[in-house]
Structures are given as C-alpha cells and as structure tokens.
C-alpha cells in the first residue's frame, strides 16, 4: 500500500488533496467499512426521522393527516423571538450553563484526582463505588431530600427554631435558587462525572510517573506536569461537548421547583418549551425551539473547537491545516 501522505506531528495522515480519489478509496476502504453500521443506524433512526422536524415550519397538529397541516414558514420562530418570556428563559438557561461550567464542571475532575490519590486500594474502590450512586435517584427524590433538609419546614429550620434563631428560607428564595440548583446537581451528578476522568487517568503511562519520581519531582509537580496534561484532552473534549448542550440545563429539576421560586428565576428553555409547546398544544413551537437549540449548540461547538485549536489543542476535530 502506497503511503505517500503528509503527516503531522502525531504522525497522522493530514493532507491528501494531491492523492487521487481511487487511491484514497482503495487505501481507506477498511475504515469506511467500519463506520457503515454507525452510519446506517444514524440514517434510519436520526436523519430520516429528522425530516419530520419540518413541522417547525408548519402549524402542526398530530391529529390530522400530515399534509393537512398548513405551512407557516418562519412564523413559529418569529413567535418565539417576539416573546419576552423566551428571552428570559434563554437568559436564565445561559446563566445556569455558565454557573454549571464554573462551579460544577471542575468538581468531577477534582474528585477523580482525589480518588486517584488514595493509596489504599480498598478505600479507593469503596469511595469510587459509592460516589456514583446518587446519579440513580430521580429528581423528584433528590429535590425531596433538599426540601426535607433545607426547606422552610426542614431539618435545618427546625434546628434553628429550637435554638431560638430566625428561620432561613433557602428553597423559596429566587436569589439563592441558582446555587441550590448547582448544589443539587453536584450532589447528584458529580460522582457519576468522575468515571470518565478516572478512565482518562488510567491511560497515562505509568512510566512517566516513575521517571518523574526518579528525577525527584514532588507530588505537586507530578500532578501539574503529568497527570493534568494527561487528561487535558478529555477535559477539553468534555467541555466542548457540554457547550454543544449549553441550552439544555435540565428539565424536571426546574419544573419541580418552578412554583417555589417563580418562573422569573426558574424558567429555562426546556420548561419554556414545555409550557408554550406541550401544555399549550403547539407541537411546532417545541420543534422550532429544538432546532434553535441545535443551531446554537453547533455554533458553540465550532467556536469552542476553534478556540481549542488556537491553544494548540485538538478539540473534537483536528485542524487539517497546520
């Protein structure tokens, strides 16, 4: 097999512009065969049904034959963009995403490093197999726990009352709601989030630690020079993927607490869509909002990836011209 391609610093094939198509096909067909099952599944269960999303441009009702639904083109989008509540929900969503990135995102990484640093194998696996458990509780139960602990009639306030202190209203305070949400998310999902980073840590060559230790590198320097760079690509990858999902911050968690703090604090895009699409009997509005989320996600992913390239990282896809 002729291997005349240009390679980058990783020794990966980079530029093929000069290589004829037939040669490339002959050389790459095993790779194409490997991706056939995935492409087939995506076509059948995502791309073909995605054609149904044209209802974003219709006045759609599922109870009449499809073509009896009139085309309204961009009216659904115009309705969304003309609605102040939509922008409120969008702004709230972005605030929650930002808080999530700042306050939640680093925690699984730190937890993973902590688990990783435990010497005793039994303690390590014990902690590891306990941390992820809250992921399996539903939001109804998690919010219930928070209510029973921090709510107005909860354990904390009972304690304060018994000691003659003023009660604190944590669960119905729109100002604190942002942090309650982050707190709940940390409790439920941080442990589960460590798993991917633990996997990344295993992929660091032990020999690197050994030689660093030999060279007298202390624990801090080993963390800084070996561990973190070793999992950096995965951290960046997770960050970019999270950005692609930036307009989804959760649904049930917000719906459950929306009444306690009010929509001004708790309305996010998904609850907005629920009330304006589902409850309001407007299927098209929901799909239109979904398309909007996808487009925004795409832009964010592309931008984040570009940014990663500027920092010399690979991101999701590599820059082909380096």
């Amino acid at each position: 097999m002729a291997r005349t391609a240009v390679t980058d610093r990783h020794g990966e094939l980079v530029a093929y512009r000069s290589v004829p198509f037939v040669t490339r096909l002959r050389r790459d067909y095993p790779l194409l065969v490997m991706i056939v099952p995935a492409v087939a599944l995506m076509l059948l269960f995502i791309y073909i049904p995605l054609l149904g999303n044209v209802i974003a441009f219709m006045d759609y009702v599922p109870f009449v034959p499809f073509l009896d639904n009139g085309w309204v083109w961009f009216e659904n989008f115009e309705r969304l963009f003309a609605d102040g509540d939509f922008w409120l929900a969008l702004a709230n969503t972005l605030v929650f995403t930002a808080l999530n990135l700042l306050l939640f995102f680093p925690i699984p990484v730190m937890l993973a490093l902590f688990v990783h640093s435990l010497l005793h194998p039994w303690l390590r696996s014990f902690l590891q197999s306990v941390l992820y458990l809250p992921h399996f509780l539903s939001w109804v139960i998690v919010v219930g726990f928070f209510q029973q602990t921090l709510g107005s009639a909860g354990v904390l306030n009972q304690f304060l009352a018994q000691n003659g202190l003023d009660p604190v209203n944590l669960m119905q305070n729109p100002e604190l709601f942002k942090f309650m949400i982050v707190g709940q998310t940390v409790w439920k999902e941080a442990g589960w989030g460590t798993i991917i980073f633990l996997a990344a840590l295993t992929a660091i060559d032990d020999a690197l630690y050994e030689s660093a230790a030999m060279d007298g590198a202390g624990v801090g320097r080993r963390l800084w020079h070996i561990t973190l760079p070793g999992i950096r690509p995965i951290i960046i990858l997770m960050l970019i993927l999270r950005l692609g999902d930036a307009l989804s911050v959760g649904f049930e968690q917000f719906l459950l607490q929306r009444n306690s703090v009010g929509p001004a604090a708790a309305e996010v895009l998904d609850t907005y869509v629920y009330y304006h699409g589902v409850v309001a009997g407007n299927w098209s509005v929901g799909v239109a909002a979904g398309l909007f989320k996808g487009v925004v996600g795409l832009i964010l992913i592309l931008a984040a990836n570009k940014f990663a390239h500027l920092l010399g990282e690979d991101g999701i896809y590599k820059s082909t011209r380096r």
């Binding site: 391609a5 020794g11 980079v14 093929y16 790779l31 194409l32 490997m34 991706i35 099952p37 995935a38 059948l44 269960f45 995502i46 049904p49 995605l50 054609l51 999303n53 902590f114 990783h116 640093s117 435990l118 010497l119 194998p121 390590r124 696996s125 902690l127 590891q128 458990l133 809250p134 399996f136 539903s138 219930g144 726990f145 633990l198 295993t202 992929a203 660091i204 060559d205 032990d206 020999a207 050994e210 230790a213 007298g216 202390g218 624990v219 080993r222 070996i226 561990t227 995965i234 990858l237 993927l241 692609g244 398309l291 996808g294 795409l298 992913i301 690979d314 999701i316 896809y317 082909t320």
Partner: protein
C-alpha cells in the same frame, strides 16, 4: 500492568538499596517499592500527617454526604406506612423492619419476567452499541482519511439535533419493529456523545504505537483489535457502563413501541408503581391514592441493585493503568 511493574520493582530492589543503575532512589520513588501487600499506585505518595488528616476528613464527608441519603432510601423502603407517615415521609432508622413494599412489588412474577427482559435488552443492546461505537470511533480517529470531515460532522450533528417522537415511531413501525425488543435497542443504540469520547481516547493514545504497527504492514483491523481496543479498555468499560445504564433505565421506548405487557422491561413496570395515584389532572376525584413512600423507595433500591452488581466489573478497568511500559515494548 502497574501492579506487575511495582511487584517486579520491589523484587528487584528492596528498600533503600541502590538500583542496578547505581542511582540512589529519592525517598518518594523508594516508597513505591516498599509497600508490600497494598502496592500503592505508582503515582502515589505518602502524604504528611496534616494532609493525611485533611484527606481522611474529606473522605468521611464525601461518604457521609452520599450514603446518608441512601440510608434513608433503604430505611424508608423497609418501614411500615404508619412509621413513614409518623416520620413525615422519610425514615432514618426503621423502628420495625417491614418487607411489605418489596413483597408487594415482587409477588406475582410480573417483575421477575420484566427483569429478564431488561437483562436481555441491556446485554444485547450494550454489546451492539459498543461494537458499532468502537468501530466508528476508530474509523473516525484516523484524521485525513476519505470523507473523514463529512462523516465526523454527520456524527456530531446527531448530538445536536434530535428527531421528534412521531416520525421516529413511523420509522420503527415501517421497519416492522413494533412489539419487538429490537425497538428498544436499535433506535437508541448509537450515542454521538459516547462515540466522540471513545474517539477522543483513541486519539489520545501515543500515535507512535499505531505508526509503528502500520509501518510493519499491519491492517487497520489488526491495529484496531490488537492495539486500539486493548489500550482503550478503560474507556470502553466506561462507555459500556453509560450505554448499559441508558438501556437499563429506559422506559419510554418500551411504553411507545410495546403493546404486550409481558415484554415490558423492569423500569416500565417499576414506573407504574411510582405512578400509581400520582394522577394527572384528569383524575381529580381522588380515587387513586398516592403511592406509598415505602414502595417508591423500594423501587429505587430494586432498580439500583443490578447496577451495584455490575459496577465492580467496570471499576476494575478504572484502577489499573493500561499503558505501563507499552511504549518501551
């Protein structure tokens, strides 16, 4: 493997003795070789007393934060209705153990049957998903190949845009998969998220390994099965867990695509226990009482036990380094 390396090292040079190379080991490095039974991780270090105390405190707090609520879940599931009502909904320590919630769920054989369905769907689904995902991830990890950019974008877009239920139902119906277990597997069998993660891991592996093999004339298939897969065991285990948990927790497709209740998976059956009496606005007559707290909590416990059983197999792959000496050959 790490433990092998550590063992080899400690065999070869007992504490403090000069290495064959004649270099005096630093204290830090020495420590790798002195711990007998509990070989510490190679990246480990012996912390000072203060750090140690802090770490113990952190450890205990973490465990308590997670386990205490779970204690409540288990205790409540084992309590009588009266005890739960008296406690205000959640029980910390049960006054008397009652298995009523569990017997109520487990008698009649419906749950056992659905457990079987769930196991089949989860096992088959995870296997199919992993094969498809790893193949595609490897293929897409080879930057610059034919149609690479386009295929990668095709995958990425599925992460951003999801079809709505009705057209998907039409497809599943058209494929004749209604009322079959395939409908619970194939529509959700590929996750772009997981694919991108696996691809990221493969691309993060030292490229020299792959290049060397290719220069030796190895086929892509050989490189995939002999190099990429063994070196990505940890991420494959993790992504397998992600897929498995998704299949395990899924109820929506079953609700939509299955008519025959004897094919219902566990989560759909358990859902009916939680829903009982949590009615929509339609039933405002109050004739359906809300579900008992004990049953709700027992449902959590029953759903989580299989995950507890499987997790150690995944965890095994999270503790060992996979690359020890790989580069040196």
């Amino acid at each position: 493997m790490r433990s092998d390396t550590a063992a080899r090292a400690s065999d070869a040079s007992p504490a403090g003795t000069p290495t064959p190379a004649g270099t005096k080991l630093t204290a830090e490095a020495t420590q790798f070789r002195t711990r007998g039974k509990y070989a510490p991780p190679i990246w480990g270090h012996r912390p000072g007393p203060l750090t140690n105390i802090l770490r113990v405190v952190a450890f205990v707090i973490l465990i308590a934060l997670v386990l205490f609520p779970f204690l409540i879940v288990v205790s409540t599931s084992l309590s009588t209705g009266q005890a739960i009502t008296d406690a205000g909904g959640l029980v910390v320590i049960p006054t008397e153990i009652s298995l009523e919630a569990y017997t109520r769920i487990l008698t009649g054989g419906v749950v056992t049957q659905s457990l079987l369905v769930s196991i089949v769907v989860t096992a088959a689904g995870t296997a199919i998903s992993l094969v498809v995902t790893v193949l595609a991830a490897y293929s897409l990890s080879r930057v610059g190949t034919l149609w690479h950019r386009g295929l990668l974008m095709t995958v990425l877009l599925t992460f951003l845009f999801a079809p709505s239920i009705i057209p998907l139902y039409v497809v599943v119906q058209g494929l004749g998969m209604l009322d079959t277990l395939w409908a619970l597997i194939l529509p959700t069998s590929l996750s772009a998220f997981n694919l991108v993660i696996v691809r990221g891991f493969i691309m993060n592996l030292p490229p020299e390994l792959f290049e060397a093999a290719r220069i030796d004339g190895a086929s892509e298939w050989w490189v995939l099965t002999r190099l990429a897969v063994p070196l990505s065991k940890s991420v494959i285990a993790v992504v397998g867990l992600f897929y498995g948990v998704t299949y395990w927790n899924a109820f929506f497709n079953a609700m939509l695509y299955l008519r025959d209740t004897s094919n219902w998976p566990l989560q759909l059956v358990l859902r009916t226990y939680v829903l009982q009496g949590a009615p929509l606005t339609l039933d405002n007559t109050g004739e359906i009482p809300p579900p008992s707290q004990a049953v709700q909590m027992a449902v959590v416990v029953i759903a989580i036990i299989p995950v507890l059983l499987v997790y150690p197999f995944v965890q095994r792959h999270l503790t060992k380094g996979v690359l020890t000496g790989a580069l040196k050959g």
